[in-house]
Amino acid sequence: MRSLLEVSDLRTDIRQRRGTVHAVDGVSLTLGEGQILGLVGESGSGKTMTGMSIVRLLPSGGRLVGGSVTLAGQELTTLDAHAMRRVRGNEIGVVFQDPMTSLNPTMTIGQQIAESVQCHRGVSRSAARARAAETLGLVGMPHATQRLDNYPHQLSGGMRQRVMIAMALACEPKLLIADEPTTALDATISEQVLELLDDLRTRLGMGILLITHDLGVIARYADQVAVMYAGRIVETGPVGLLFRRMRHRYTEALMAAVPRRDQDTGTDLYSIPGRPPDLSDPPPGCRFSPRCRFAQQDCRTLDPPLTIVTPGHQHACWHPVDYRDDTGPTLQLTERSARNRALDPQIRPLTTPLVEVRDLVKEYPVTAGVFHRRAGTLSAVAGVSFSLAPGETLGLVGESGCGKSTLGRLLVALEKPTSGSVIVGGQDITVASAHELRPIRRDLQLMFQDPYASLDPRMRVGAILREPLAIQRIGRRQDQDRRVGALLGQVGLPASAAQYYPHEFSGGQRQRIGLARALALEPKLVVADEPVSALDVSIQAQILNLMRELRERLGLSYLIISHDLAVVRYLADRIAVMYLGKLVEIGPATQVSEHPAHPYTEALLRAVPELPSPSGATDGATAVGRARPLVSGELPSAINPPSGCRFRTRCPRAQPLCAEVEPPLRPWGPHHLAACHFPLTQPASGGA
């Protein structure tokens, strides 16, 4: 393996009004030709800044203050602006996170790909266009030549990311920097895009710097890993070794915070206390020491140097994980007393359900023409039935656009269904008047995905939490204030938090406030729409633990809507899988995730890259096995959904029958239903 990219002791400062942030503080990396180097870390760890420093695309106020970057023997840090411009897009291609905002909305994708070729190769317009078509074909865009004249908004998210990749590859760069290339995409689409990148680097012999917060993606695709924390590399090594024999305490903690497939749902997730440090004034010694359980006096004063474990595996920790006794990681997770699984669907007696959903349908009209005549129907939710017991947690999974958020909104009566009913406490809330709904709304609360956008920026936290109490006229002002203090305590925030505005809190704290707001009225059901997908792994674990703890303490029911199966599996008693408005499978969480009946469920499960289990295999560098993606293509339009089984257009097992007859939900076992003609496992004979 020849070395392609050598970064040594790279330092980048960003000058801001409140001080200078040392965003990258002595980072060294090596990337070989045709290799994928995974750079992993939480937000603010400096991983993106490292990538941007290599191509010198720094934000205003940012500049390189030291170190060197060599690409195939050429030093980049000493190049002038003009020469650096010749490198960008030509020798180094960059793929950014969000393909919607990263493409120019007013130019066709053909123009956007071709302009890079014209700029660096000096070829004619038509030659550049031909190259654009060729590159689009390379990244798997169907009908590439016809697609050239499309605008970005006419493409789906996955296709847009393919355009981004084509743009980066148009001039055949030696190095591709992919900054969170699939974070904005669904698991199934993300898998397709990552497979594409993996395939391209072998075919083109290009090196890829894969920047991501997702350890699973790194485990599945990277050859080498570098873990960043607070502007520094804390551990680096080959992927197999690093995941099974990690040494740094931060790496260990990060991996423990990710919910796993084999996670015991009776235990808390390991959560890293506190928050990453402020990089304008980093703590002395090891930067992780304020949050580290194993920190000693030396950690707080002396900077740990990079220590070589084996050639290629280095870490910077004074008290690393010790494998001498061969017991694996020593991090002891807090074991909970075995949870009272009264909620276990296997043994749960048939109680009166808290919520019962019957044949729920929600359609939106699609209009066209001068007189807005109805041109079609968007079928968002198409005949969904299920029930939710008191204290039960139901996880709802599916790709974006499958109708899961719509279903959540219908459940809390934020929208009126086209037909069907939602029965809460014996009353059908779909026919209730606004006046009748008001007392029912106390029992049904929503927790939102984006903790930045869902709290009114002009209201103090106290006012945000008091508002629901005031609307429902609960108690007097002093009682309400007392309740606000209690709520803040419940979600682990000091009572003084009531005095501050939302922007003064971190993402995790804001999500705590969102949860407190949802709990203000002592609801019976909380519908949590992607509750942790905007948060970092260590913070995500804090919120998940909190949600679990509150559920047990307050006897809440949750409907957890998420694209992240690991999150759903960790919290949910039962899992429901939605596809294009239909429920395709529903059943006990372990049953659905271990023995799925529906091919779509299996595809979703397999699309999520898993971390290798640290305790299971200690045999070191076993490659993390993977198969080709199980589903191809993308979610079809809900305006004219496919006939019969809606999944048939992407299903590897589809047969003519699937197009003709819609499969009904059939019982597979106790509380386990699926709708498939040709399922993966055989249904229970005779039904349940």
Binding site: G89, T101, P105, C119, H120, Y151, M164, M167
Partner: protein, 315 residues
Amino acid sequence: MTGYLLRRTGQSFMVLLGVSVIVFALTHLLPGGPARAILGLRATPAAIAAFNHAHGYDKPLYLQYVSYLSSLVRGDLGFSYTQNQSVAALLAQDVPKSAYLSLLALAVAIIVGLPLGIAQAVRRNTVLDYTVTTGAFLGYSMPIFWLGLLLITWFAVDLSVLPPEAPQTATLGGALADPAGMVLPVAALAIVSIASFSRFMRSAAIENLAQDYIRTARAKGLPERVILLRHLLRNAMLPIITLIGLSIPALVAGNLVVEQVFNYPGVGLLFFNSALRRDYPVEIALTLLGSALVVLGNLVADLAYGLADPRVRLA
């Protein structure tokens, strides 16, 4: 697109119909009615009755409106008693000259204002930015007649480099033949628009410069000039298009003042003089014309927006 155009044109006609009702009502709200206004305070009641009968003012109101509308549709805008010409003839003479002045000023404002705003955004918080911002606030806050007078004092009186008066001509050709005479009126009219366009362009460009797609363009290694012209300009222009459409009433109003200050024989001066002489048919026709321009400006802005932004499907 065709459907959209039809619907919007239909809507525009409805608006204009509403305006015609108001304008029609105005002729009847005049103290003493048009007869008194035209024949003067000393006219005898008999003369007024004869005038009213001759012009149909003694018929029921709805019939009068119908006949007013029908003559309007036929292009008959009435007769100017003070100028002894049909209003249509007056408009045919003066509208091209005013349009020339307005469009020239609009073009200058766009050509100067937009690059100025982009330059400010790129060189944000520098001396250039602060200077242009100060200038823009001065230009924006100054009354246009005062600005016109200042321009005359500086460039025509003190420096004697430009004529103090606009071309004195009855035809558009005469105005075209005297570019020097147009400089100060156009400048007076354009400065206010430059000020507002550059402010809006500055904020739109700053917002767009922070967008991810600009970073993508940089990552492609494009020269900065290409990034600004090809990527930034078109996106930052989008909000400005609506602004330009909405600035048409301001331009029309500006014409009114500028033509008076520089004695330019256009529609503005015509309106001003007609108001002084109570030439109601002319004023009514010009009011209607002004409304039509405002409606048209909005329609054109919306259409242009649809062309400039591929995401907007006009339907």
